[in-house]
């Protein structure tokens, strides 16, 4: 009973001192004295903390594949786009190509008129007259000969393990891992080990996924979210009250070789997350995943 009291007293003192330090401002001597006292308490506190922090630390990685194609326009967006195109056409000037079209049309009408005198035309020599309409037709032919890849493939969309599904949305990697006796769907995580930063733990979590060669760029050293849960009262001991899971954001840069079909991870959109994650976990994770 003495130990927790001492720890709690040290923690409250630390909080008080840190608060006073930040609120201190520019009072020189007072700040100096408070920091020296603070350092002494900090040392004792760190010793006590390292010895008995009841929370196990884990780091998880929130790996996202950003969208590959632009999203479809909604109804109002489609109407607005059409209106803008119309407005821009009305306010513009005639381009060179359009002028050429008009000239050609005029020349054709003059040729078909009864009193046509070819000598009045400008000298063109033996050049072949290429009509602007012919140019347009040839350009259209060229466009038709190019087949772009399909935007939406219904089969790929249904396969949750493939990376090619839902190219217009950002996908999140979810893995099935063993947590305290049961298999749960969650963002890939591992336990923190002494001597490494939490970001390195998250990188290890990504690398340790079975049969996955993902290359990711981690966005910074700071965690983007935290989820802490206390173990059920029966499992609680002096040294482990619960776990704190820190999440780190990463963007997929290279998917590597295609994974085996039985690999225990899925690529899901934000709306589909609810089916796989536990509600309390989902609430915390929901906050930092932006679906913009």
């Amino acid at each position: 009973m003495a130990a927790p009291c001492r720890r709690m007293a040290a923690r409250s003192l630390f909080h008080f001192l840190s608060f006073s330090r930040t609120a201190g401002g520019n009072s020189g001597f007072r700040q100096f004295s408070s920091t020296s006292v603070h350092r002494a308490t900090l040392q004792t506190k760190s010793v006590t903390e390292k010895a008995s922090s009841p929370w196990t630390l884990m780091a998880a990685v929130c790996l996202q594949r950003l969208p590959v194609i632009s999203a479809d326009c909604g109804p109002i967006e489609r109407k607005f786009r059409d209106m803008m195109l119309q407005l821009e056409l009305e306010k513009s000037l005639l381009s060179d190509h359009e002028l050429r079209l008009l000239e050609d049309a005029e020349r054709m009408s003059r040729k078909q008129a009864d009193d046509y005198d070819s000598d009045e035309e400008d000298e063109r020599g033996d050049q072949e007259i290429v009509l602007a309409q012919d140019l347009e037709d040839s350009w259209e032919q060229k466009l038709k000969s190019f087949q772009p890849a399909l935007r939406v493939t219904a089969d790929a969309d249904k396969d949750l393990t493939s990376l090619e599904r839902c190219l217009a949305d950002s996908l999140l990697l979810v893995a099935e891992q063993q947590v305290g006796g049961e298999k749960l769907w969650l963002l890939p995580q591992t336990q923190w080990q002494e001597g490494e930063t939490l970001r390195q733990t998250a990188e290890r979590a990504l690398a340790s996924l079975p049969a996955a060669g993902f290359k990711a760029t981690f966005l910074g050293n700071a965690p983007c979210g935290v989820y802490k849960y206390k173990l059920p009262k029966a499992a609680r001991t002096e040294s482990s009250v619960g776990t704190k899971v820190f999440f780190f954001k990463a963007i997929l840069s290279d998917s590597g070789p295609p994974a085996a079909p039985n690999a225990p991870f899925l690529w899901v959109k934000k709306d589909e997350l609810q089916r796989y994650l536990k509600p309390a976990y989902m609430m915390k994770v929901d906050r930092f995943i932006l679906n913009l």
Binding site: V68, I69, F80, L93, L94, L99, N221, F246, L290
Partner: protein, 203 residues
Amino acid sequence: MSVTLSRCLCRVLSRQTAPSSFLLGEHRHTVQSPWFAPVMTLKTSAPLRAEPKKKKKVDPRREQMLRERMRKKLKKLEKVPPELIPIEDLITPAKCLDETRERSPPRLSFEESEGRALLLKEWCRYKQEQHIAEVEAVELALEAQREALEELKLESEELYQSALKPDPLLFPFTHEGPAYTPPKTKYEAPDGKYNNITKVYTQ
């Protein structure tokens, strides 16, 4: 054989006399000494030929003054401020001011113009909602991060400090944005040629 001998002798003799006349100047007549010139020759006596030129001490100074004046004139000319490089985007090309290019203004019915005004207002509302949603989402994410850092601080100061450090390897960060169609696997892009006709100005 005697003829050739005599010829050789003549040649040798002429060779011997030739250098001596060359040494004594351009005149063919071999002058024994420079002070006794024959009457018919040009009186190029040694004193006349050997007289050194009178060096006017004013000359180098005059030349220097000339050079300085030239330099000052050049500096004055160079003081003109350099011509400004024209910004081509801000100059309307003459093509656009051509009157033959104007379209006939469209005649819109009342319903159509009303419809356009209403669509603009709807669009304004839609974009505002989108913006508010974005700002809220970003604020939520920031709040989540702040909470995470607080919890980390409670856990261990060392990990907290290493989390606060900036990552130097992150930038420059590039990512290909979304296109209209996904990239084709095994697509060979045709080789393109282009002539760069941008105008380069020097000041």
